[in-house]
Each structure stands twice: as structure tokens, then as C-alpha cells.
């Protein structure tokens, strides 16, 4: 190649890079350079719109945006008689924990958000909670189990708050549900080696004897495992009739199909994490029938949230996706209500206001504990067609079905 052409090429590449500077204009979607200007009060979040947890991204976004829209429809946040519209800024962390802290910092320092909202799973939420504490900006998160989240800061969170289930409920609800069915009380556990897999799998195993159950086989596989045939055959041989699984969706798809092919039909099959998204049934179809999950109980029946609940369920169906949207809505609403109650965007003032929350939201009657977490009610949900209905504690909608019909040939 001619040297002059090479120079042109080099200049071209540099021009490309600089053009990127012009086009990008510094920062995320609705952001502006520097601290927030004008009337708008901004809140922001780093959420997974692409990557492994991409199925949660649009759901979280919908919940946060709905809360912002509702507050704006009511006239925004009024501070000293001036009405401020609310703006939501979202950045895509590509399900990469390494990007979360950077993006949270960008939201605080570049977009000037008055509050942060969370992501999903401890891995993606804790880095942002760290930034919240370090920068003194309040943050409300959800879709992150309380124990793991609190464990992310052994010294106690100052500015970060979380509303979701306690891991203990994953065990209590599961065994309580099993008590209502007629089983041999033999349990098989399929856990992956991710943080929640280790924690929940360990909890199930530890609590089983006390509740009168016996763990006859336990399989721990790295996330991304695709072959469970040996484990399934071992579970069959051990006579396990209650399956407790906590796996990422791709692994769960493989496990469920392999169970069906190997003619292993337990009385009860729980899939946590994997069927925490309606995609589980969308991908597996009939195979998902009668699979159970432990997730948020049915939303609050308080009259002030009836319209919202009906709208969300109408849009997402009667399943965990609707519950997730409402949980995200609750988190955003609590943050915005905190700013309104504090009457300012000062971090410490808003933080205190959030701490004083004592009100009914779609996720339940929220009052934070000393470690800044709120334990939402959990329930067993079972797949009936493409709906996930609460079967325990019984809410009048559906009855627990055994065995796991979807796994029958």
C-alpha cells in the first residue's frame, strides 16, 4: 500500500474517533453534560438491556418508566411551590458487573441524578449500591435477594435500600408447599456455582432434615453446563420425587428437556432463577407445564394500585414478569416519593425520607428494616399454560398440581 494512502487511512481512523466525540455528545440517552440543568429532576439506573439477563432489561425499564410517568402525570415533584418534571436515564450494562460501577458513577457525576435505581441480581446491584454510598446519592433497588445484597457490605449500607424476598423464604415456602402435597419427602437439588446457586442450594440442604425431608442427591454444576443426564439418572435411582433447581435459564432448558427424555417425572419441580422470567415457558412450551417457582406473591390489592396492576397484568400476562414490573415500579415510586417528602434533592435529606417510608405499594406495605432491606412476601407460583398462578399460600386462584405434568411424555 502506498505510504500516502496509509497516512490517509490513519487520518481516517482518527477522524472516525473524533467524529464519535461529536456525535456522542457526552453521555447516555437523555443526558446532558455536567450537573442537571433546568427544571427536571433526574433519576437513573444501569440495567441489563443486552447480555445474559437481557430478558429483565425491558421489564425493569417498563416498571421504572411507569412510575416516572405516573409522577409526571400528577404534576411532577413539587419543591418549594415549583413543579419539577421527572426524567429517567438508563444505561445498558450488558450484564457485565464491571460496567455497573462506572455507569452508576457516570449517572451521578455526569447526568446529575438525584437518585439511583437498581438492576437485577446481587452481582449487578451491589456495585451500584457501593457508588451510592461513596457518592452520597440515595439508591433503591429490587429484584435482588436481601441476604446477598446486605452481605455485599458487611459494614451496613448507608444510602442504599433494597426491597425483595429474603433467601430464607426460598426454603420456607418450598418445604411448606411440599407439605401440602403427598410425596415421599425425597429431595434432589440442582444448583449452579453462581453466588445464589451456592447460597440457596446450601440453604435447601441444611433446612431439609428439620422440615422432615431427605436430600438424596445433590448436583452442583457450573453455569453453562449442558449435560445433566448422569445427574438425572442418579436422581431417578435415588427415588427423588421433589426437584429443587436454581439454574440460569439456558441450563434449565437443557435440564428440563433431558428430564423429559429420560422419563423422570418428579411430583414437584421448582426452578428458581430460571423461571423468574416468562421466557421459560415461551421457550419450553408444554414442557414447562406445572413447573413451580418461588417468587413475589400476588401484588397488593390496595385500591390505589388496582388500575396499575390490571394494566400491567393485561400487558405482560399473569406471570412473574408482571410481578417484576410492579416491583420495579414500587422501587422507583419509593425513591420519587422520598424526594417529594424531603422537599429537596439533597442526598442526605432524601435518604432519611426513604428510611421513614411506611406505606402501601404494589409490592406490599413497605417499611425498611435496620439493614435497609424490606422483605416482600414470597409465594409458590406454578405454570398453567402461559400463566403463573399462585398456589401457595393459596390465593383462591389455583390449586397445586402434582406431578409435574409437563415432564410427562
Amino acid at each position: 500500500m502506498q505510504k500516502s494512502t496509509k497516512i490517509l487511512a490513519a487520518l481516517g481512523v482518527t477522524a472516525l474517533a473524533l467524529a464519535g466525540c461529536q456525535a456522542g455528545g457526552g453521555g447516555g440517552g437523555d443526558a446532558t453534560e455536567g450537573p442537571s440543568t433546568g427544571d427536571a429532576i433526574k433519576i437513573g439506573a444501569s440495567i441489563p438491556l443486552t447480555g445474559g439477563l437481557a430478558s429483565f432489561g425491558p421489564i425493569i425499564e417498563a416498571g421504572y418508566q411507569a412510575a416516572v410517568d405516573d409522577v409526571n402525570a400528577d404534576g411532577g415533584i413539587v419543591i418549594d411551590g415549583v413543579s419539577h418534571p421527572v426524567e429517567l436515564v438508563l444505561l445498558d450494562n450488558e450484564t457485565d458487573p464491571n460496567k455497573v460501577a462506572d455507569q452508576a458513577r457516570t449517572l451521578v457525576l455526569n447526568d446529575g441524578v438525584a437518585g439511583l435505581l437498581g438492576s437485577v441480581t446481587p452481582g449487578l446491584t451491589i456495585p451500584a449500591s457501593n457508588v451510592a454510598d461513596l457518592e452520597g446519592v440515595p439508591m433503591v433497588s429490587t429484584l435482588t435477594p436481601n441476604g446477598a445484597w446486605a452481605g455485599g457490605n458487611p459494614d451496613g449500607w448507608q444510602y442504599a435500600w433494597n426491597l425483595f424476598m429474603d433467601e430464607q423464604q426460598f426454603s420456607d415456602i418450598v418445604y411448606a408447599t411440599a407439605d401440602t402435597a403427598d410425596t415421599d419427602k425425597k429431595v434432589v437439588i440442582f444448583a449452579d456455582t453462581e453466588e445464589d446457586g451456592v447460597a440457596t442450594g446450601g440453604l435447601w440442604e441444611a433446612e431439609a432434615p428439620g422440615k422432615g425431608y431427605e436430600v438424596v442427591y445433590r448436583a452442583d454444576n457450573p453455569a453453562g453446563t449442558t449435560d445433566f443426564t448422569a445427574d438425572i439418572n442418579a436422581a431417578k435411582a435415588a427415588g427423588a420425587d421433589i426437584l429443587l433447581a436454581i439454574l440460569i435459564p439456558p441450563d434449565a432448558f437443557a435440564l428440563w428437556e433431558q428430564m423429559k427424555a429420560l422419563e423422570y417425572v418428579p411430583d414437584l419441580a421448582f426452578c428458581l432463577k430460571c423461571s423468574s422470567s416468562a421466557a421459560f415457558q415461551a421457550v419450553l412450551g408444554d414442557t414447562a407445564e406445572a413447573t413451580s417457582n418461588v417468587y413475589l406473591a400476588n401484588p397488593s390489592t390496595a385500591p390505589e394500585w388496582a388500575d396499575l396492576t390490571a394494566k400491567v397484568i393485561g400487558e405482560y400476562g399473569q406471570n412473574v414478569d408482571a410481578s417484576s414490573v410492579l416491583a420495579a415500579y414500587s422501587a422507583a415510586r419509593i425513591l420519587l416519593d422520598g424526594i417529594a417528602a424531603a422537599g429537596s434533592t439533597d442526598g442526605a435529606a432524601v435518604n432519611d425520607a426513604i428510611g421513614a417510608t411506611d406505606k402501601e405499594y404494589p409490592i406490599g406495605h413497605v417499611k425498611f428494616r435496620a439493614d435497609h432491606s424490606f422483605p416482600a412476601d414470597a409465594a409458590t407460583l406454578q405454570w398453567f399454560g402461559n400463566a403463573q398462578l399462585q398456589v401457595f399460600p393459596a390465593d383462591g386462584e389455583a390449586q397445586l398440581v402434582t406431578p409435574v405434568v409437563g415432564l410427562q411424555q
Partner: protein, 300 residues
């Protein structure tokens, strides 16, 4: 530990062999380290899902369309990008395929989103009995695919004129060129064949398991482990390498605990790599050939 563990390992090994075959082909013929191979596999799966959505075919039937299209797309990539880089040493083509893998996975993410997908089929949940073990039909199909591809490649390499041209071009491209073999075309067709094999693997993975735009990365190391184990450029070696790897993973996981399943593969691979120079040295001594021309991957 029972026969079930062994059978499971062998069946998975069939898939590993398929992955390794594509890599072994391009590495054996033109010393190309194709870091984008995992992405080619995933592209095959996505292309198939597109065809299925459009025509409603069975996933394996969709290969009739997917394989030629992907091979046709791969041909110019080798012909006009990678072949030129091969002359400059080992790194440039490696880096180029690196870049391609980033482009492909980002492109798939943008086009198809990050959700896991499956290729719909009625037989992914069908079971059968093999040596007294209950196994999935699709897993046996996977082993069958690996064996069939191995046989096919072996026959083509050994018993066709085309295979002879390939072997000539890989041994000594310059001389092959003077004998009237169009080395550039040979290289490009080899890469296209590798992409075709990747597509077949992708359709299998899409049917038996699930896939996302970034699942390709996970298969790369397995592929290269198989290639190193099996000896580069040997079809049967690759098959055996794949089966051995599947066995090592399954048995290792059963003995040490499931959470070490992946670690066992990496540790095994490092041991094989570390032992390779020693093994070659011993082989040299055994054949009393002083420091002969060995394939150690050096480009002087």
C-alpha cells in the same frame, strides 16, 4: 461412578469432536487460528432459526439452506481478508478473527437481542435406551454427527483429488502453486467447509440446548483443546480427542464434584500442553531422529 457417566461423556464428546473438526481443518491446512469459530457456530444456529421462522422446517432440514449460505459468506472472508494476512505470520490472522468474533457477536446482539433461544423440534425431549442407560435421542444424534463428519473429512482428504490438492497446499503452498493448484481457492474453500461444519454444530446445539449471541466464546477453548489433543490435521485424531475430552469432563466431574466440571477441562488441557514438549522430545529420542522438523507451531 457407573456406566452412565461414561456414556454421557462419550455422547458429549461427539459434540466436542464436531467443534474441533472445524478448527482442526483450518489450522491443519493453513495454520489459521480461527478465534471466530464459536461465533460461526452460533451464526449457524441463528440462521437456522431464521429459516425455521420463515419456512417452518425441521432444524436439521434447514441446514440445506443454511450450510450453502454460510459457506458462501465465509469464502470471501478467507479469500480477501485472511489469506493475505497468513503471509504475515501467526498473529495477524488470529487478531483478525478475534475482531471478526467481536463484530459477529455484537451484530447478533443488536439484531436478535440477548435472550436465550432454542430451535423448536419434537425430538429434543425424546429418550432411548443405550447400553442399559436412558439417554436423549438428540445426544446420540450428536455423536452420530461427529462420527459422520469425521468419516466424511477423512474420505475426502485421502481418497479424492480435491483432498490431495488440500494436502499439497497445506504441506508446501509454494510448490503446490507451481503444480497448478490454486492455493488461494483451496484455502478459501477450506474455510468455507469449516464454516459449514460450524453451522451443522450450531444447529445441533440449538436443537439440543440453547444459544445466545455470546455463547460462542464458551466453545472456543473446548475446540482448541480437542485440536491439541487430537493432533492437528488428523480427522480421526480429532474425533478421539473429542471423545476423550468428553470422558475426562464427565468422569472428572463425577469424581471431584460437579462444580469442577469446567476446571477439569482447563487443568487437563494445561497438563497436556505442558507435557507436549516432553512427549515430543521422548518420541524424537525413541525414533532416534535428532531434532527433526517437528510441528511446534513456530513460524521462523
Amino acid at each position: 461412578m457407573d456406566l452412565g457417566v461414561v456414556v454421557a461423556g462419550l455422547l458429549t464428546g461427539g459434540l466436542y469432536a464436531t467443534i474441533g473438526l472445524g478448527l482442526s481443518l483450518v489450522f491443519g491446512v493453513m495454520k489459521l487460528v480461527n478465534l471466530a469459530h464459536g461465533e460461526l457456530i452460533v451464526v449457524g444456529a441463528y440462521a437456522s432459526s431464521l429459516v425455521i421462522a420463515w419456512l417452518g422446517l425441521d432444524p436439521f432440514l434447514s441446514l440445506v439452506l443454511v450450510v450453502p449460505v454460510l459457506a458462501a459468506l465465509a469464502y470471501p472472508v478467507q479469500r480477501y481478508l485472511l489469506t493475505g494476512l497468513l503471509r504475515r505470520g501467526l498473529e495477524p490472522p488470529l487478531v483478525a478473527t478475534f475482531g471478526l468474533s467481536l463484530v459477529i457477536s455484537a451484530g447478533l446482539t443488536a439484531l436478535a437481542g440477548g435472550d436465550p433461544r432454542k430451535l423448536p423440534s419434537t425430538y429434543s425431549t425424546a429418550g432411548m435406551n443405550l447400553f442399559g442407560q436412558q439417554v436423549r435421542v438428540i445426544d446420540v444424534v450428536g455423536l452420530g454427527i461427529g462420527v459422520a463428519l469425521t468419516v466424511l473429512i477423512y474420505l475426502v482428504m485421502r481418497h479424492t483429488r480435491w483432498g490431495a490438492a488440500l494436502r499439497a497446499a497445506s504441506t508446501d503452498p509454494a510448490t503446490a502453486g507451481t503444480m497448478g493448484i490454486n492455493v488461494n481457492a483451496v484455502y478459501a474453500i477450506t474455510f468455507a467447509a469449516s464454516a459449514a461444519i460450524a453451522a451443522i454444530g450450531g444447529v445441533f446445539i440449538g436443537t439440543a440446548y440453547s444459544f445466545t449471541p455470546t455463547s460462542g466464546m464458551g466453545y472456543i477453548l473446548i475446540g482448541f483443546t480437542v485440536v491439541v489433543l487430537g493432533g492437528t490435521g488428523s480427522a480421526w485424531g480429532t474425533l478421539i480427542g473429542g471423545l476423550v475430552l468428553g470422558l475426562v469432563q464427565s468422569v472428572g466431574g463425577a469424581l471431584l464434584g460437579g462444580q469442577y466440571r469446567d476446571f477439569v477441562i482447563y487443568a487437563f488441557f494445561i497438563v497436556v500442553l505442558a507435557a507436549k514438549p516432553i512427549a515430543e522430545h521422548l518420541l524424537d529420542r525413541a525414533r532416534s531422529r535428532p531434532g527433526a522438523i517437528r510441528q511446534t507451531g513456530v513460524r521462523a
